[in-house]
Amino acid sequence: MVALLLLPLFGLDEYWIYILTIGFYYAVLAASWSLLVGYVGRISFAHAAMSGIGAYASILASTVWGLPLALSIPFAGLSAALIGLAIGRLCLRLHGAYLGLTTIAFSEIVRITITAEHELTRGSLGLAAPALFETTGRVPYYYSLLALLGVSLLVMWLILRSRIGLFFAAIREDEDAAASLGVRVVRWKIFAFSFSSAVAGIAGAFYAHFVQLVAPSMMSIQEMGFILSMAVIGGFQNIFTAALGGIFLEILLEVSREIGEWRMTIFGLVVIAVLRFAPNGLFGWAQRLIVGRGP
């Protein structure tokens, strides 16, 4: 984190500042997704959709209602949290494949609705977002997204260190045993879903006001695949390794741009290999190698 704070001061060029800023966005998404999947043991394919909901909510709140960005961004988090709460109440009693399929269906419904709706969202043309800062320079965005990453990781870490983290572990290990010991299983699953959605929504809002144009494609299944790959390759059983996966894969995507769409095939194969040979992810595996223990 200290190295990331210092990088722009040592002459990192604008291009790489842009790439790292996007990497921080993905790191927040990968870490918050890993909180749900790695710690609570519930799969969701709606995380990209939640980010998109946050992005559109913040843009519309600022452009249609005239809210300042300082309020529209928290509004984005609240919107995603409330939608997460509703989805959670509807489907978190479902298990495994049913829950996964429901979140895919939800994600597609949101994407298609925004694509088809032109008046408010301009459909697939995309919606222009007001900039977060007046300057055209990228450094303020770099530090904003880095701060968002730091704060998100800190809040998630505090939650996971608290009794709630213990309840999450109990739910992941055995729901029946957890319930028999007084853990409100459905309540905490909904909380985790709603909270991780809120984080994704806020990240989506920051992203929107950084790139200043969002389109429904940010909610596509392919985008969700990126987030999943980042968390899995980094190590989705730990929020920090998942976040590292987000930054790492964004850089890798950029440096492998020359091989075109083949890079997606290669990343798919890497995800399979990591799941098979390093289920704690590359960074979890590296940590185990270096210090003898890992997530």
């Binding site: 009794r163 109990a170 290990e173 029946d176 007084g182 409100r184």
Partner: protein
């Protein structure tokens, strides 16, 4: 500690539970007084675990009602019943394998938000010492033997300080030394005034620990009395030997 309310602690009235065409519980009526330790026996498939699942909120009975300390509890969620004083263990041990032994005990200890982590930790350590598991408290639960895992389940029950404890086959595959410790713990709980329903195929343990035994067969109560009376009951002998009412082996 005063744990003895007025009247029966638990009353089940004509409780039935069906799974498709299978009638797992057929109008089971059962009363448990405060401070009683009752053995629940019966051949495989007789409905013992289903009855425990109904009492602990995992199944809602199709008909009948259950009262605990005078209040209806059928249909309430397991977590609610745990908070109201009903704790249980499972036939197939359900410990949280990827967290430590101490954390396993902290889970129930911290469900009460008025209790801080330090207080819960002290209580958990005292319980682990009582169960001779203190040296393993920082070990991952996955490293425990089957018997030790059963003891962790006992420890988690103790963290809840329940009025009613439901034990489902706690002695299966347990080393005799640990089994003795389990017997002592169950006796201690009972001496503290806690009521216990104990399911076991280990008849030695049942007859050693329980002053009252209830036998189930095909979802019905077929005997209820002292261990001696139940052991010699014709219907119980027939159920265990697999002999039907006409005397033919089934």
């Amino acid at each position: 500690m005063t744990l003895l309310p007025q009247g029966p602690l638990l009353e089940a009235e004509s409780v039935s539970k069906r799974f498709g065409g299978l009638r797992a519980l057929d109008a089971v009526s059962f009363t448990l007084e405060a401070g009683e330790l009752v053995g629940l026996i019966g051949p495989n498939g007789s409905g013992k675990t289903t009855f425990l699942n109904v009492l602990s909120g995992f199944y809602t009975p199709d008909t009948g009602c259950i009262r605990f300390m005078g209040r209806r509890i059928d249909g309430q969620e397991p977590a609610t019943l745990a908070a109201r004083g009903i704790a249980r263990t499972f036939q197939i041990t359900k410990i949280f394998r990827r967290i430590t032994v101490l954390e396993n005990l902290l889970v129930p200890g911290l469900t009460d938000w008025t209790i801080g982590r330090q207080a819960a930790g002290e209580k958990a350590r005292a319980i682990l010492a009582r169960l001779d598991l203190e040296r393993l408290m920082d070990a991952p639960a996955s490293s425990l033997s089957g018997g030790q895992a059963k003891l962790v389940e006992f420890g988690r029950v103790m963290m809840l300080e329940p009025r009613l404890i439901l034990l489902d086959e706690p002695f299966g595959g347990v080393h005799p030394t640990l089994k003795r410790l389990m017997h002592d713990t169950i006796r201690d709980w009972n001496a503290e005034g806690r009521s216990i329903i104990l399911i076991s195929h280990d008849m030695g343990s049942i007859f050693d620990l329980c002053a009252r035994v209830v036998a189930l067969h095909a979802g019905r109560v077929i005997a209820d009395g002292t261990p001696e009376a139940v052991r010699n009951d014709e219907a119980v002998i027939r159920a265990y030997l697999g002999v039907d009412d006409t005397g033919a082996a089934s």
